[in-house]
Symmetry: C2
Subunit: 503 residues, 2 copies
Amino acid sequence: MLENVDLSQAITSEEYKKSIKTLQLELGELQRKAWELKIPIIIVFEGWHASGMGEDINRFILPLDPRGLDFYTMTRPCYEEKLRPFMLRFWSQIPIKGRMAIFDRSWYSRAVIELFGKEKDEKALEKTLEETTYFERQLADDGYLILKFFLHISEKEQKERFKAIKKMDIPLILDEYEGKNGKELDFIEKYDEYLPVVEKILEKTDVPYAPWTIIEANDRNFAVLKIMITVTHAIKTHIEKVTRTPGQQTIKYLDMATVNLPALNGSTLEKTDLSKNLSLKEYRESKKLFQHRLETLQYELFRKKRSVLIIFEGWDAAGKGGDIRRLVEELNPRLYRVVPVGSPNDTEKAHQYLWRFCDAAPMAGHITIFDRSWYGRVLVERVEGLCTEEEWRRAYREINEFEKILADSGVIILKFWLHIDRETQLERFKSRLNDPEKRWKITEDDWRNRNRWEDYKIAADEMLQKTSTLGAPWIIIESRDKRYSRVKVLKTTAETLEKELES
Amino acid sequence: MLENVDLSQAITSEEYKKSIKTLQLELGELQRKAWELKIPIIIVFEGWHASGMGEDINRFILPLDPRGLDFYTMTRPCYEEKLRPFMLRFWSQIPIKGRMAIFDRSWYSRAVIELFGKEKDEKALEKTLEETTYFERQLADDGYLILKFFLHISEKEQKERFKAIKKMDIPLILDEYEGKNGKELDFIEKYDEYLPVVEKILEKTDVPYAPWTIIEANDRNFAVLKIMITVTHAIKTHIEKVTRTPGQQTIKYLDMATVNLPALNGSTLEKTDLSKNLSLKEYRESKKLFQHRLETLQYELFRKKRSVLIIFEGWDAAGKGGDIRRLVEELNPRLYRVVPVGSPNDTEKAHQYLWRFCDAAPMAGHITIFDRSWYGRVLVERVEGLCTEEEWRRAYREINEFEKILADSGVIILKFWLHIDRETQLERFKSRLNDPEKRWKITEDDWRNRNRWEDYKIAADEMLQKTSTLGAPWIIIESRDKRYSRVKVLKTTAETLEKELES
């Protein structure tokens, strides 16, 4: 979930000042309203060391009435707590109905420190993550509103902040809590080592009743505003749900895209560098090299009974067909299969939407390439209203689960998003229309989709973030230059397979 | 979940004939209705070998229109299936919307055979059970109605049936499927070895959107009727849910107690042999023996940092207080604690209901004894309407999860249900009233509860079945004879602790 987060987002002081006042008033009002309605609220803050959690939380709680607030800083357990089952320590801190409990770090950090520990006890961590879902679901079922924030910064940013902190010579509050020999929290500094652990936790515990919101925390203003907006929106939605009379319209989910702050809508795609290109000579050499490596790799896959799933998604005319052709050019057709995915037929529509892909999943030792895929659910079906909002919202998790089933059984998964800009698409459409041999490639659907470019971009950005998982990451392919696109696909595939086959 | 199942239940041929016709007509009608409404239905049958599954399924499907039915017998995977991820084989067999798919064995049996296997690969099994919940939840969210039956017989009954089958020399269909060297299914015969595996599967996958129903299958008539009633009721409920307009009353859950067939309401409690008793001499000797053993054991617990949780539930005047006194008589008060549980106070009421027990959980090395407990949720709160039906229905799973959190962290859990009959209770109430020193023990609540004896019995029976888990089983204590009751508590406790400390 952290892979396709755009950390460059920032908000100017002016913009910040303009918005913060309104949000503060609103939050205060909502706190009183929640108290009247006896809605208990749990807000969890987690994040990288030096992500600015302390300051962000402080700015967040300023407008709140402290009489309705419980604030917990999660540190080392005391003697009695250590002797009791791990989860109970947190269970006993849930707020009274109507109050808000803020957890400055929580059962998640503590599970990593106390249970996963230095021995990297995966099993203990997994068990606790499962217990976490019991805990949170039971509370949600009992009417608790649960929000979880992860404050995300880049490793580079973190290093710079550490340097600055050192210079200031300010004692870190948590270190004080822990005592001078408090080496306990060290782990949070080992960014790259713990990134997969954090990813795993976020993926496993991002549940509808207690969702994670990733906060891009490189910029303080941005972080605070996003936290405030997310919380106010969630409380409003919850109040609406609790107070609405039967028969009323169902609530709308939080959609950052609808929030009236353009800067809040980060786009990984917009930041993609489309100027990347290759000369004809570079292209020919690389293509030959990687196609040859793939030719060898396919037999290695077959021998080791490892299967591969490659998904191609992207804009119309981004070059999916051409990329796929170069990918399979030197392969043995007995070992690969290309599955083009279009609109579902009647039989397919009459089943759950993942059903139609079951038989196309790769067999051990084989490669399956999907030209479009189940991601249609959160792209075309979302944008064109072919499924309900509730359905495509749910689909992120469903797809992650489905891919986990594949990955866990040994399937190597590669997902390519072929990216171009709107102008390039228009050029390609036109040149297709002018070429009698390519005219068939252009349909009315393509023009319709083109007109909804912005909606598709929002959908694609959200998809790239929510479905990029450890076992099945998204790879963005810069495709304005067709040669660059083809070689990047070939290279990424070859290198991924080599790495997987080595391990 | 199989522990407190009353396998002695039976229905006479006359009763059977009287009910079956109506049920058959109803089921046929419901199938047509589900087709019209495009409701897809999945019915899973699992159970012990020789539990009569084939015949039961046959009687069940007779009234159904075969045109709306898919029937699958789950056997060994074919070559292609073997090369694909395990779950996809079943995913690709889900019914079209409006149809009913019957699975004669399912992903559960296959997971045990193919993944758990002879190597007893616990990890592979756990992973698959998790995948199972993805699969079933996604389908349920998509509108599928999922019902799962486990056909339960005793080991003794199974052995007798095996003998009878051998005599008849009829080839078992499944054996034929498997070929002559089809040793694959042998496991189902090793009853006691696989009982914990079956228990684990039932516990882990008994989810609200795809619940298990245990079918007492010693008696064929009973089994078929219970299957028919459960299915018809579930379809009716589902249709009601799908077709009701907003604002209408919410649906009623399936409650076997309301079904108009007295014989369907099995009661473990009613079958309890209350005539068990001890002479004064036996009582004194045993009491001394076990109290002494417990005295030693408590220090052993402390040394090994193992904690113990003992829960006492049972009828008013069943002797909880007396039993607890004898249990702690020779213990060191620094190592045990008795927690009496009454109605929650205002602060407690303002939290989720399990909150108030968190601080009372035993610390490592200590013993905590609860005189009444969180089971109030599914006993007094259910019967007196102090919580909603939805809340106490949910509580079985919540309590199992809560106890799992305890058990997984090393707490040894013992749960005693002190059982007496209604007459014994009356005698004891009267004698308490006549004894000025015991009169305080009798309150109006006791008389009120006594008047709702039948409701409490239904609630207790359901609780005993649904919350008896591997890590925290219920033990019924026959308590008409106080001496017998006390000694059984002492003996069970001592022996359980000895066993746990050895391992």
